[in-house]
């Protein structure tokens, strides 16, 4: 579903100046970097971290939605939820395999997720309390993801950029199906409308946080931009998202739960209320309402699915022995 702007570039480039200069010249010339090309170690590590967090987010991101598959209001809604979930797992796999080109194994990355060492998007640590939450996740959560991911289609690392092209093709369906479900609610009974508004009220701020800390508090953004891993800053992306979302909300009678949200005629930008960064960091650090549930569910699925891998391995070994005989 999406990559978060928060865990960007921790390591500043050091080491061999020649390599860094050569590398920067290629990036500045708009060249793409491919797996076997020479690259600074910090570039490689930054990408591995960002891509693995992105892939983990795709995988963990299905849990809030999976909660409502069996209780979807109609068969049509159930089918679209299942198709979306299958896509999200697919996105995780595209990105894991793109990350593997940097010399890290998928097993290692998954291990870091299960051990709690690796992060994923904080937004998935909030609960989905009713059906309207699924509509809002599609409309706003995937909407925010699209803002983040479209620029990544042009990022400097070839395999990541190509994986993002595949992902972005599918995200549009995710957002539209969510908005359509939202429209249905907002055209419904007073109770259904209230349900839609309530879901937006609960998700708006966690989704605003998806873009990561303000630029002034994100010292690593600069290196990410310099290496073209990031093409827009967190605040730029957040602004694009608000701009796109406000008219969509208005059209269906949704009120954005931010009393300070106003359009600044002079700058042409939307000004928004203060984001609760204490809450953000506490969720990132594991204190969100569902951090424990998400990791527990993932560990359980991994352990309970182990036999499938073992059976497939046994079968492959048997076939290989037969073919050799």
């Amino acid at each position: 579903m999406y990559s978060q702007g928060l865990m960007g570039v921790e390591e500043t480039p050091g080491g061999e100046q020649d390599l860094l200069d050569r590398f920067q010249a290629r990036i500045d010339a708009g060249e793409k970097i491919e797996p076997n090309d020479e690259m600074p170690e910090a570039y490689r590590k930054t990408l591995i971290r960002q891509m693995s967090q992105h892939a983990h987010s795709e995988i963990v991101g299905v849990y809030p939605e999976a909660n409502w598959v069996t209780r979807a209001p109609t068969l049509r809604r159930k089918l679209q939820a299942m198709a979306k979930i299958q896509d999200e797992f697919g996105h995780g796999l595209y990105i894991y395999s793109a990350a593997e080109t940097l010399g890290v194994s998928r097993e290692e990355m998954v291990g870091q997720l299960l051990s709690g060492k690796a992060k994923y998007s904080s937004v998935f640590n909030y609960p989905t309390l009713n059906w309207a939450d699924l509509a809002v996740i599609g409309w706003l959560g995937d909407g925010a993801a699209i803002m983040n991911q479209i620029p990544l289609c042009r990022c400097s690392y070839g395999p990541y950029a190509r994986a993002m092209v595949l992902v972005c093709k599918e995200e549009s369906f995710h957002q539209r199906q969510g908005y359509e479900a939202m429209v249905a609610l907002m055209n419904g009974s007073p109770e259904q409308k209230a349900m839609g508004q309530d879901a937006v009220n609960r998700w708006w701020w966690p989704i605003m946080m998806m873009f990561g800390p303000h630029d002034a508090d994100s010292p690593n953004t600069e290196t990410g931009v310099k290496w073209k891993i990031k093409n827009f800053t967190n605040d730029e992306l957040r602004q694009k998202f608000i701009k796109a979302t406000v008219p969509q909300a208005k059209l269906i009678g949704i009120e954005i739960p931010d009393p300070d949200l106003r359009f600044n005629e002079e700058t042409g930008d939307w000004e928004h209320g203060e984001i609760d960064w204490d809450e953000f960091w506490s969720v990132v650090k594991g204190q969100g309402p569902c951090n424990h549930d998400r990791i527990t569910a993932r560990r359980k699925a991994h352990a309970e699915g182990a036999w499938v891998l073992e059976a497939a391995q046994a079968y492959a070994a048997k076939q290989a022995a037969r073919n050799a005989a």
Binding site: D37, S97, A98, S105, E107, L309, Q313, Y315, A316
Partner: protein, 97 residues
């Protein structure tokens, strides 16, 4: 055996007849049959292909980046410009050739 040991496959799709197969990504699978099924599920959920090729990544023979100069520079337009059509000057009267 750990998952690390599951072979990596590269996946190529031909969107429709008349086009070439094109690399779309990779996946892990224990054997060819599983790789084909995974390729279908992972890369062709929306009719992206009428033909799928898969090959074990270990079986791909790739040129080494350090050989780029030796392998590719003879075709560099600056080295052998006479191999390119724009090298040849035609009379102005000939508009297209």
């Amino acid at each position: 055996m750990r998952e690390n040991d599951t072979p990596l496959y590269e996946v190529f799709l031909r969107p429709r007849n008349g086009l070439s197969h094109r690399h779309v990504g990779s996946l892990h699978a224990l054997d060819d049959q599983m790789a084909m099924q995974n390729a279908r599920d992972l890369y062709t959920r929306r009719g992206e292909a009428d033909s799928i090729w898969i090959v074990r990544s270990a079986d791909l023979i790739a040129s080494a980046p350090e050989d780029k100069e030796t392998n590719l520079s003879p075709s560099d337009p600056e080295r052998k410009p006479y191999r390119h059509p724009t090298f040849y000057v035609l009379p102005k009267e000939v508009e297209n050739m």
